[in-house]
């Protein structure tokens, strides 16, 4: 045997090629390429003593413990077995080429000379994954337990969801703790669904979507978890939690109803014992944005600014009052009001009310008084009062262009302040009247 140093390509020739090869010669050339490749060989020139069944001189090719052919002959000769342009490909990384010659090369007493052969080989990628199901003789075990990925010169394995690749790089171990789902919708299933789930599982599936969304769960058929007629879920069970609140523990063959988690966080815990043959479960989860109830004014004076057809998480609305009305939150007067839709679909503040502005009791006028022009005793928005002085002893101080009725007229404004058209909040003054005795001295007697 003549091993050739491992290379990606090369040539193999008969001894002394292209001069005639010697008699009584036999050698086996071992062609090897790096692991992950296989050998492809093609003859470029072939001139070996032809014989029936290639009994005398021949070239024999074998690989993977199989004989790929025995060849002899000359170009143009019908005798023998020429390899022609045939490509010989090994399944493994090794190919054997045996060249055998007998004691003479004569034809009808004439000594003949044959040049021998020249062959080229090169390494071609071995698709290890393709041979997964029908293993080669050198590697009878399946290469990957779950998934196989070929690349030039090698391959690697991976596992289906819920499994982890073992240290050996081939086998897969069930691993379903800490499964996190953050997409707005998706499917979650027990391992191997709808084939029976593995034993001794402690699976934890967490669904986390953005705040302001709520999760809906819908189980698919088949739903099958080991059950017992009398005892509730003694073997295997699926527990569902929303925001740490238990939504139920499920087993048997009756799939759970569609669940509205009313939460953006759902956890599923799936426990199995060491035995069983149930097919497991699968669910489809979807998300829906949380909406807050449409804000409704509590009275006709409340104005919701730019109302929207619907309000969702983080939306807000602003409330104002019609002119002359005051925003009230309970007994507390507000300067402004806005409410924000929370992630649980509720408003952070309750709807305020709008109370008509009250200017309060009008200020008393020294040496005068006031009377209501509008409803007596009512001091609300648009109410009017008329101040007057105690005549004839006092007279209202007015401007030349004004009158007592104008100066004394006060209206309750939208700001809740009594105001005069000309002088604003300043109430009039009653000035003493001089020199006007009610009973002046008089003499009748003349």
């Amino acid at each position: 045997s003549v091993p050739i140093p491992q290379k990606l390509f090369g040539a193999v020739t008969s001894p002394l090629y292209p001069k005639p090869y010697p008699n009584n010669y036999e050698t086996t050339t071992i062609i090897t390429v790096p692991p992950g490749y296989r050998v492809k060989l093609v003859f470029q020139h072939f001139d070996v003593e032809p014989s029936e069944g290639c009994l005398y001189d021949y070239v024999k090719i074998s690989a993977d413990k199989k004989n790929l052919g025995r060849f002899c002959g000359q170009q143009g000769s019908s005798l023998g077995n020429l390899p022609g342009k045939k490509e010989f490909v090994s399944k493994g990384s090794k190919m054997l080429l045996t060249f055998h010659t007998d004691f003479s090369n004569e034809e009808n007493g004439t000594i003949m000379f044959y040049k021998g052969f020249q062959a080229y080989y090169h390494a071609v990628d071995l698709d290890e994954c393709a041979s997964q199901s029908n293993s080669v003789e050198d590697d009878p075990q399946p290469r990957c337990q779950h998934l196989c990925h070929n690349y030039v010169g090698g391959y690697f394995c991976s596992c289906r969801a819920g499994y982890e690749l073992s240290e050996d790089g081939h086998s897969c171990q069930a691993e379903c703790s800490g499964q996190l789902y953050t997409e707005p919708s998706g499917y979650i299933a027990s391992l191997e669904y709808p084939r029976p789930y593995p034993p001794d599982l402690r699976c934890n599936y967490s669904i986390r979507v953005e705040r302001g969304f709520t999760l809906h769960l819908k189980f698919l058929e088949p739903f099958e978890i080991d059950d017992h007629q009398q005892v509730h879920c003694p073997y295997d069970q699926l527990q569902i939690y929303a925001n740490r609140k238990n939504l139920g523990e499920f087993c048997g063959t009756q799939r759970p109803p569609a669940l509205d988690a009313s939460s953006n966080a759902v956890d599923l815990l799936f426990f199995t014992d060491e035995s069983g043959d149930s097919r497991g479960w699968k669910l489809h989860y979807t998300t829906e944005i949380i909406k807050c109830p449409q804000p409704k004014p509590l009275d006709e004076f409340t104005v919701i600014q730019n109302p929207q057809p619907q309000y969702q998480f983080r939306d807000y609305f602003i409330v104002t009052c019609k002119q002359g009305y005051q925003l009230m939150e309970g007994d507390k007067a507000l300067v402004s009001f806005s409410a924000v839709c929370q992630d649980d679909g509720t408003w952070d503040r309750t709807m305020p009310t709008c109370k008509i502005r009250d200017c309060g009791q009008p200020r008393s006028l020294s040496n005068g008084d006031f009377r209501y022009i509008t409803t007596n005793g009512v001091n609300s928005y648009k109410s009017q009062i008329q101040y007057y002085c105690r005549e004839p002893y006092y007279k209202m101080k007015i401007r030349a262009s004004s009158s007592e009725s104008d100066r004394g007229l006060f209206t309750c404004t939208a700001q809740g302040i009594w105001k005069n058209k000309q002088d604003g909040e300043k109430i009039p003054r009653c000035l003493p009247v001089c020199g006007k005795p009610v009973h002046p001295v008089e003499a009748k007697q003349r």
Binding site: Y393, V433, C434, P440
Partner: protein, 242 residues
Amino acid sequence: IIGGHRAKMGNFPWQVYTELPGPGGGALLGDRWILTAAHTVYPKEQTGQGSNHTRNVLMGHTVMKQLRELTNHPIRTIRIHPDYHQDQPHNFDGDIALLELKNSVTLGPNVLPICLPDNETFYEERLMGYVSGFGLTEDRLPDSLRYIRVPVAEREACEKWLQSKNRDDVFSRNMFCAGGLHLKQDACQGDSGGVFVMKDHNKDRWVATGIVSWGIGCGYGYGFYTKLLNYVDWIKKEMGEE
């Protein structure tokens, strides 16, 4: 008041009775100020009139007994005209003062302010004016407010009368005189500070034109009054906006 009449309620609603501490008169200006004569506060020849004396300011009734039952009006400040000289017994120039009350009084039919003059026509001779007061009637104090009606006298006549008496008393341009030699109606001690008023028929109101100031005896000759028109600016300055 000599030779006068008993006043009825409401005849002289501006009349104020003062004891500062001596008895005197005054007139209500606005609802917080009393016009009076400076010498009712600081009488001549009585230097050292202290501020710790009880001072009474009463108004609202013509009967003294009733008047004394009414509320006293405490004084906040006293404003004496700077021309008044307590130490000059023969000179009553600048005999005018203002009493600022602590609280405003409530005006009514018996308590009303008097107006101030605005022109010289109020001082024309023979114009009749009224003088009221709780001062002496002959030689006794009256039990109620009394009044007289006297004319503004001719200035020269008053000056001559004073000269004939060989008096040193000053009759300044800030004074006017009223009454007459043969008129038995006059103001007297206790009426000082009260006002000489007359009806302004054009404006249908009563105007104080003078303050009872001084005289020689009571009931004969002329009475001398502080001429208010000359002090209107000072009064307005002291009273401010009021």
